[in-house]
């Protein structure tokens, strides 16, 4: 499957002046239908005919082609994703899990949070600003559909080489779109990632995460329960936005023609979404909706079939009632349209008037378009029938679209080059071994695109709106206050490392999980739950499919080991240009809870209360692990070997220690170690508040290239903390108790204004800052 023409291109709705009706379809069984052009296989088309007992109408064909696409049906991933449920540790906090619009976790007697990450990769390549903007809009509606008020967003992003000319087109547009939409909605952006790698050239990854908060008793669901209830479409008018967008933009591989294809893209209206949010929340609080579902990919088709299928009911819909932006739209276009900022509500008839009134108060269009009908006799699910201009154009069992799509166990094969790749270890590369070379390496690394200061990006995002942001970028995790009365809050981090996953997808997925988990733990929060976005190449390539299966297995095993469940996520396949797939890129989000956000631990060394400074400790073990590291890439353009060892029991011990130490007030700062190793973390911790540090290397790392290894190895399971004078004994005792290895590194030093690594180098904070912060403005303009 490569390029697919758009739905609008191949489906002709008009026959003898009227639409293709169910009646007509039954009478003309042999009529040729362009199912292949819509991306359906012969056997899939046959199954549709079997389900219906006739050929599908044109509208039905469009609906099946969308709902059975990879993007909507998860047909290649389903068999693997099951593990998330099967291996998940039991949890009584999980109020809604995989399969819902987003997972919901209870965090106190009366409050719950819901969060999820999703991709909008292909649209963001075609139209960076709108693609990214509507990516934010889409995930926010998922959160809204659960009954939650969205309270923050995050944006894990990946681009091609930083100095590639197309990155200069894509990155500013994507960042502008994320900011433009999120800022206008009044959602603080509390973190994300900006990663550059040539493998994302032509396939940028634009993932967006949203978190929302709800009173436990406001939880909503999507089931269209209660025959006789009214189906209401609320929000923007329906236009020809992204018609076929799901199948074309989100499922098909890009090729050289994509430039000319110029697919129709969706344009977002954050103002409308803001009104939609307020209107929905008011309706929830007034208990006016029975069921609710957002309209995202596959638009009305998806919302109608999923709500009906979830309840086992049927539904009748009059398509003529759907408010249109363009009156000339055909039935299948209305059904496939991905116009943004719309929600589908199921309401009891006697609530309809009140619902319409609330919508009007917020200036949002709301229209009754249909009715819930009873299930069939013998307990069979009901049918979805849709009329258009007086004719029945759709008559289907909704479950056949929503739940019973094709499922494939696709062939898998370890990539042929993997053995050689793993044998080519970065630990054999020449390493800096003199103080001067080390000093130069520090400055070069902290200014490299992946490690440099991301202020150019994050300055375009509002972090303050709503007044509950306790930590945001560049901190390790975002921390949001959820309850002003008690100080209850949550911490969130998203992480992924495509290079590690390329070298070993099983371990790479675990490493991404471990990093996000650690990032949450360093703030003092207790990690609770996981979301993920799995960005991969074509599932039709057995090597990609193997990477995918391994990554899922790694993430599921990792979650089981850490005792936190996957609550939801998203799969993005076909991130591929020609035969070249992106690095397998599992992006993992971890959510933790803080009983009192006032106890959160920041990443930067604070101005110490004691003139002698705070004491700096490194927690965890440093090994010679350079394969897949940022250093190997920046200085040798090298990718090979095996990724760092992952020890989830050790991660858990570290997290427990950090949570406990934060609770008793031992920590003035804590910063997790990942890309760029200890050197990066020291520099970031110093620059954050302009407080220097004096460091002494442990003896076993004092000579030859060992200082370099200590500073740049990317061993997992480590964090750096600072502890006030007088508390170090109690702190190290706590470390011993938790079985976490610790090393005293030195002290913070406010007056010095420099970072000193004894016997190696001293660099002034100004020089560090200049090296760290000049890169993105140089590349993308001041």
């Amino acid at each position: 499957m490569t390029t697919q023409p758009e739905v609008a291109d191949v489906v002709v709705d008009e026959f003898d002046g009227g639409p293709d009706t169910v009646q007509r379809a039954a009478a003309t069984p042999e009529e040729l239908q362009p199912y292949a052009e819509l991306g359906l296989r012969d056997d899939e088309y046959e199954r549709i005919r079997e389900v219906l007992g006739r050929r599908p109408t044109q509208s039905e064909l469009a609906m099946y082609s969308i709902m059975w696409s990879e993007h909507c049906s998860y047909k290649s991933s389903k068999v693997h994703l099951r593990q998330f449920g099967e291996k998940a540790p039991p949890s009584d906090r999980l109020l809604a899990g995989i399969g819902e619009n987003a997972g919901v976790i209870q965090i106190s007697d009366d409050l719950a949070v819901t969060f999820k990450v999703e991709s909008h990769n292909h649209p963001s390549y075609v139209e960076p600003y709108q693609g990214a903007a509507t990516g934010v809009g889409g995930i926010v509606r998922d959160i809204l559909a659960m009954g939650a008020r969205p309270v923050a967003v995050m944006d894990p992003l990946r681009f091609g080489a930083a100095d590639h000319e197309d990155t200069a087109r894509v990155l500013p547009g994507v960042v502008g779109g994320i900011g433009g939409y999120g800022n206008s909605l009044g959602l603080p952006n509390i973190g994300g990632e900006v990663v550059f790698d040539p493998c994302y050239q032509g396939n940028p990854l634009v993932n967006a995460l949203c978190i929302g908060v709800l009173p436990v008793d406001r939880l909503q669901n999507k089931a269209a329960a209660g025959p006789g209830n009214i189906v209401v479409l609320m929000g923007a008018k329906t236009g020809r936005d992204g018609i076929g967008g799901v199948s074309v933009l989100a499922s098909a591989t890009f090729d050289s023609e994509s430039d000319q294809r110029r697919p129709s893209v969706q344009v977002g209206d954050p103002f409308m979404e803001k009104l939609l949010i307020e209107a929905c929340l008011e309706l929830y609080d007034e208990r006016r909706v029975v069921g609710i579902q957002d309209l995202g990919g596959a638009g009305l088709t998806c919302a109608l079939t999923e709500t009906a299928a979830a309840a086992g009911t049927g539904m009748t819909v009059e398509l003529d009632r759907v408010p249109l932006r363009e009156p000339s739209m055909a039935a299948h276009e209305i059904l496939a349209s991905e116009s943004q900022e719309r929600m589908l509500l199921i309401v009891e008839p006697d609530q309809l008037e009140a619902v319409l009134k609330t919508a009007a108060r917020w200036g949002v269009l709301a229209t009754a378009i249909g009715e819930v009908t009873p299930p069939g006799p013998d307990g069979l699910p009901g049918r979805l029938t849709i009329s258009w201009q007086g004719h029945t154009v759709v008559d289907v069992p909704p479950g056949s679209l929503a739940d019973d799509g094709p499922v494939y166990a696709r062939p898998m094969r370890e990539p042929a080059d993997l053995i050689l790749l793993q044998a080519d270890r970065a630990e054999t590369l020449p390493r800096p071994s003199t103080p001067d070379a080390l000093r130069e390496t520090v400055l070069r690394m902290i200014g490299s695109p992946n490690l440099c200061d991301k202020t150019w990006v994050t300055e375009q995002y509002d972090r303050y709106v709503l007044g509950n942001t306790v930590l945001a970028q560049p901190e390790d995790a975002g921390v949001i206050r959820v309850d002003e009365r008690t100080g209850l809050g949550v911490a969130l981090s998203v992480d992924g490392n495509g290079r590690f996953a390329r070298l070993d997808p099983y371990t790479g997925a675990k490493l991404a999980l471990a990093e996000a988990y650690r990032n949450v733990a360093v703030t003092g929060a207790k990690p609770l739950a996981v979301t993920n976005c799995l960005n991969f190449g074509s599932p039709e390539d057995p090597a990609v499919m193997w990477q995918f299966a391994e990554a899922v297995r790694g993430l599921a095993d990792g979650c089981a080991a850490l005792g936190i469940p996957v609550t939801g996520g998203n799969v993005s396949f076909y991130n591929q240009t020609g035969a070249a797939a992106i690095h397998p890129t599992p992006v993992v989000g971890v959510l933790g809870v803080l009983d009192d956000v006032a106890q959160r631990v920041p990443m930067g060394f604070p101005k110490p209360a004691n003139p002698d400074g705070d004491i700096i400790f490194l927690l965890g073990e440093t090994r010679l692990e350079l394969s897949g590291s940022e250093w190997a890439w920046v200085t040798h353009e090298h990718l090979g070997g095996v990724p760092p060892k992952v020890d989830l029991a050790g991660e858990k011990a570290l997290a427990d220690l950090l949570t406990e130490a934060a609770r008793v007030g031992h920590l003035t700062a804590a910063h997790d170690l990942s890309d760029g190793g200890l050197a990066q973390v020291l520099v970031e911790a110093c620059l954050r508040r302009g407080v220097g540090a004096r460091i002494k290397l442990p003896e076993e790392f004092a000579t030859g290239s060992m200082p370099f290894v200590f500073l740049f190895s990317e061993s997992a399971g480590r964090a750096m903390v600072s502890v006030p004078h007088g508390q170090e004994k109690a702190f190290t005792a706590l470390c011993t108790e938790h079985g976490v290895p610790w090393t005293a590194l030195g002290v913070t030093d406010e007056s010095g204004g420099q970072l000193e690594v004894r016997d190696q180098f001293t660099i002034g904070l100004d020089e560090l800052r200049e090296a760290h912060s000049a890169t993105l403005p140089r590349l993308f303009g001041a």
Binding site: V126, G239, V265, D269, F271, R325, S339, Q340, G363
Partner: protein, 98 residues
């Protein structure tokens, strides 16, 4: 003067939230007979020598318009010129002196 104007508008099928917001505001100004408002960009390009339409078209296609969502038209500037308030009766005398 060698001025070429490039008008860039969203393609008709693309949502124009900006135009819509303005259209929705008009009734509050007592205007009720407007059926639609669309907002695009007007770009005035001054050439050193002769106005060069082909050049302008190329610039528009490559730089000024986003062909994924926008259409454009190019013309040599004529009557429609927006002049400083002081010498154009169409525009309002500015309240603050220039």
């Amino acid at each position: 003067m060698a001025r070429v104007v490039v008008d860039v508008m969203l393609k008709p099928e693309i949502l124009d939230p900006q135009g819509q917001a303005v259209a929705n505001a008009l009734p509050r100004l007592g205007v009720n007979d407007v059926t639609s408002v669309r907002i695009g960009r007007r770009i005035e390009i001054e050439f050193a020598g002769e106005p060069d339409l082909d050049r302008a078209r190329e610039i528009a296609d490559k730089l000024l318009a986003n062909p994924v969502i926008e259409d454009f038209a190019v013309h040599v500037d004529a009557a429609g010129t927006v002049k400083p308030a002081s010498d154009s009766q169409e525009s309002q005398p500015a309240e603050a002196p220039a």
